[in-house]
C-alpha cells in the first residue's frame, strides 16, 4: 500500500516541521499515523489521546490546515501522499501536537457553563418532556465532547483572545434551556458581555468543522435573542 509522508509540528509556539514516512494500512486513522510515529520512529513526539472512539474529545489536531478529531478521521478520505499535522489553533502549544486546553475550559467557566441545581437534595426527579421546545433546543447541543475543534476553527477566537468561543456558548445555551437549572440570569449576563455571544459573526466555521455535527452558531443566535429579550424586559 506504500507510505505516506507525514509532516509533524515539533516544538511549541516556535518550532518546525519534521517529516516521517509512515506505512499505509487499511482503515488507518490520522491518530494511527501519529501513534505509529511515536511508537516506532520517534518516542519523543508528544500528542494526546484517550478513548480512540470519538467520545472523549482528547485527540483533536490540525490536519492539512483543518481541525479534526484524529481518531475518527480516516487517512484514505484525505487527498494526497503528504499530510501535515499540527496542534489545534487559537490555543497555546504545550509541546509538538499537544495544545493547552486550559484557556478553552476556563472560558466554559466564565460562561457559567456549569449546572446550577434548583431542587433540594433528596427531592424527586423532575419530569422533563423530550418534545418541549426548550428540551429540543438543549438536546441539539448536548452531545458536545469538548474537543475544541470549533474553537480552533473560529476566526473570532483568533482575532479576539477574550471571545468565549462556540463551545462555551453552546454549553451555556443548553443550560439556558434546562428547566432544572437555576443559574440562567447570571449566565445570560456572563455570555452577553463584550466578548460573548454578540462578538460572533455567524461565519459558521464551528458548524462546518464540528465532528459531532452540532451547530454552535444556532446556539449563539439563541443566546443573542435571549439577551435582547432580557434587555427589553429589564431583566439584564
Amino acid at each position: 500500500m506504500g507510505t505516506i509522508e507525514v509532516r509533524v509540528w515539533r516544538g511549541t509556539a516556535e518550532g518546525s516541521y519534521q517529516s516521517f514516512a509512515v506505512p499505509r494500512r487499511a482503515n488507518q486513522t490520522v491518530l494511527d499515523l501519529v501513534t505509529y510515529i511515536q511508537r516506532t520512529l520517534d518516542p519523543t513526539l508528544a500528542y494526546r489521546f484517550a478513548c480512540r472512539v470519538g467520545m472523549c474529545g482528547s485527540c483533536a489536531m490540525t490536519v492539512n490546515g483543518k481541525p479534526r478529531w484524529t481518531c475518527r478521521t480516516h487517512v484514505a478520505r484525505l487527498d494526497g501522499d503528504v499530510m501535515t499535522i499540527e496542534p489545534l489553533k487559537n490555543l497555546p502549544v504545550v509541546k509538538d501536537l499537544v495544545a493547552d486546553l486550559a484557556p478553552f475550559f476556563d472560558k466554559w467557566a466564565k460562561a457559567e457553563g456549569s449546572f446550577k441545581p434548583t431542587a433540594a437534595p433528596g427531592s424527586d426527579f423532575v419530569v422533563v418532556k423530550p418534545d418541549t421546545a426548550a428540551r429540543v433546543a438543549a438536546d441539539a447541543g448536548i452531545e458536545c465532547i469538548g474537543c475544541a475543534v470549533c474553537y480552533s476553527a473560529c476566526d473570532v477566537a483568533a482575532w479576539n483572545p477574550d471571545y468565549l468561543g462556540p463551545a462555551a456558548l453552546n454549553r451555556a445555551w443548553t443550560l439556558q434551556n434546562d428547566v432544572r437549572d437555576g443559574g440562567k440570569a447570571a449566565r445570560l449576563s456572563a455570555v452577553a458581555g463584550d466578548a460573548g455571544c454578540h462578538a460572533c459573526h455567524t461565519q459558521q466555521s464551528c458548524r462546518a468543522h464540528c465532528p459531532k455535527g452540532l451547530n454552535p452558531s444556532a446556539a449563539i443566535a439563541g443566546l443573542k435573542r435571549a439577551a435582547l429579550g432580557a434587555l427589553l424586559k429589564g431583566e439584564l
Binding site: 479576539n160 452577553a192 463584550d194 434587555l231 439584564l236
Partner: protein, 113 residues
Amino acid sequence: MRRTRFEVALWALQRASAAVLALCVTAHLATNIYAVQGGLSAAEILGRTRGSVGLALFYGLFVAAVAVHAPIGLRTVLRETLGWHGRATDAALAAFALFLAWFGWRAVAGLVA
C-alpha cells in the same frame, strides 16, 4: 451589568439600523437610476429636492442609520484588528457617530433647504 446592557443595546441598534439601511439604500439607488434615465443637471435635481419634506425625512433617517451603524461596526473592526477596546475607544467612536450625523444632516439640509 450596565456594561452588559450597553453591549446588548449596541448589538440591537446595529441590527435595527441595518434593516433601515437596507430599505434606504434600495430606495436611494432605485430612485437615482430611475431619475437619471433622461439625464439630469444639478440644477434640475435641486429644483426637485428643495422644499421637499418627504425627502428631508427620508435622507434624515438614512443619515441617522449610517451614524448609528457605521461606528458600531467600526468598533468591532478596531477590536479584532488592532485590539482597541474600552471606554476611550467607545468615546472616540461616539465622536465619530456625531461627526457622521452632523455632516450627513448638513448635506441633507443643503439638498432640501
